[in-house]
Amino acid sequence: MRARLHPLTALTGAACTAVVTTAAASWVFSVAVTLAVAVLAARAGVARQVLPAAAVILAPLCVSLLVLHGLFFPEGQTALASWGPARVTAEGLRFALELATRTAACVLALLLFSFTVSVPDLVSALAERKLPPQFVFVLASTLALLPAIAGRLVRIRQAQEARGLVLRGGLLSRLGAVRLQMVPLVLGLIEDAGSRAQALDARGFGGGAPRTSYREVPDPPAQRWFRAAALLAAAGAVVIRLALSWPPGVQP
């Protein structure tokens, strides 16, 4: 087992991968990145979570791209088939392929980061980098609240069924049920937030004093060097792309 990655190293790696892939604009490169990320996910033991999550996001996008550009691509020259206004062109298919693979590579890289990172480590690393503590709070608190919400909704629904609320199939009745569930949910969350604000202030959160961190996240020098190199590579890729395809007629 390798030494644990510092969360910022993982984040930098994922973000730079996405930037370089976007700058490269080559479906071969994108496919290579996608496969590499999938292998990494399998080795990290999270392939079973990352791949389905990515599929849910990417499947509708890919279908939409294929239909849109595969059938309607007025810029296309090489028509392969046509039905009425719809025209399948080689350029359109290629365009759909380019964009689908590029998006897939970026989504997979970023999801691999989210599914492997330890949120407490990330929170603590961000806080040590002097990010506004408010940002760190919103990030961590949302991630903590989300799973709790499902349980809360179940309890609300049960409490309401016990009062004689019957969920029927009709659209209007279902909309009405959603409204009845939303009110106690939102109200409860906002009330809790009010007392939480008082508690946070009492525990010194609102004060502007410099903070310290209890949790220690080791950051070996090798990982710092890796982050610097990755950032340089991403910056280089962006500069090259901008220089190569700077649109004519616009002076830099």
Binding site: A18, V19, T22, A25, I57, P60, L61, V63, S64, L65, V67, L68, F72, F73, P74, E75, E91, F95, L99, R102, T103, C106, V107, L110, P132, Q134, F135, V138, L139, S141, T142, A144, L145, I149, L171, R174, L175, V178, M182, V183, L185, V186, L187, L189, I190, E191, A193, G194, R196, A197, L200, G206, A209, V238, R241, L242, S245, W246, P247, V250
Partner: protein, 273 residues
Amino acid sequence: MSQPSLTLPAAGQAAGRGRRLLEIAGAAAIAGTYIFLVLTQPADIANGPASFSALVALGGFLLGAVLLILAVLPVLPTSTLVLMPVALVLNVVLGQLMGTTGLPFYFDAIGTVLIAVLAGPAAGAATGALSSIVWSFFNPTVLPFAAGAALIGFLAGLAARGGQFRRFYLAPVAGFGTGILAGVVSAPIAAFVFGGTSGLGTGAIVSAFRAMGDSLFAAITKQALISDPMDKAIVFAIAALLAYALPRRATFAFPFVRRFGVLAGKAPGTPKA
């Protein structure tokens, strides 16, 4: 360790200038990026994906969103800050709850609009941008839309300040207008970064415009002008419903609501004027 003072210094307006500059820089980055993208949009996308435009759109819009967050977050009172996770969770969960009704809308800005109504345009903008950033933890494809989400929160706050939530029928009107602007700003992201839309229904509308010979950017902008205003009109109406369903003591606890008379009716307990 010396004992810190038990009291705070009298309220001052120091350090407001730097924040204001950051806010303006953020807004300028978003507006500038949009104008640049429209001026330099590739005439012929057949040569390959618009990598250049994608990088500019991503960089400019994300920079703008981050600047806005940095400008607004540190000065928000804790009572507003703790509402943001609630708003973010609502954006996600209510969007999914609505999804179970089978209606063809996204409803992923209800929390943002609710915060904007209770705490003002700055808080709304920061909530929108943060919402995209935090949500991208589960769905990275929403990250590039951070600037559009910030704009929705900002405009909702302006509408609330202008009294659009005092009459129930005005809220959807404000939402419609917000949807137009937000759709226009988000269109380059959909066009240059993703090359289309993720929904099948919206994809069909884009296809129709493409079949008529529009450029991809134009087709997606037109599609956004059809779907987004409808969606935002409904979202604003739902946020208004929620705001009025909350106890008055809870809503009137927000200084923004009291100061600008955002919601109809009197503050609880105030004597008749």
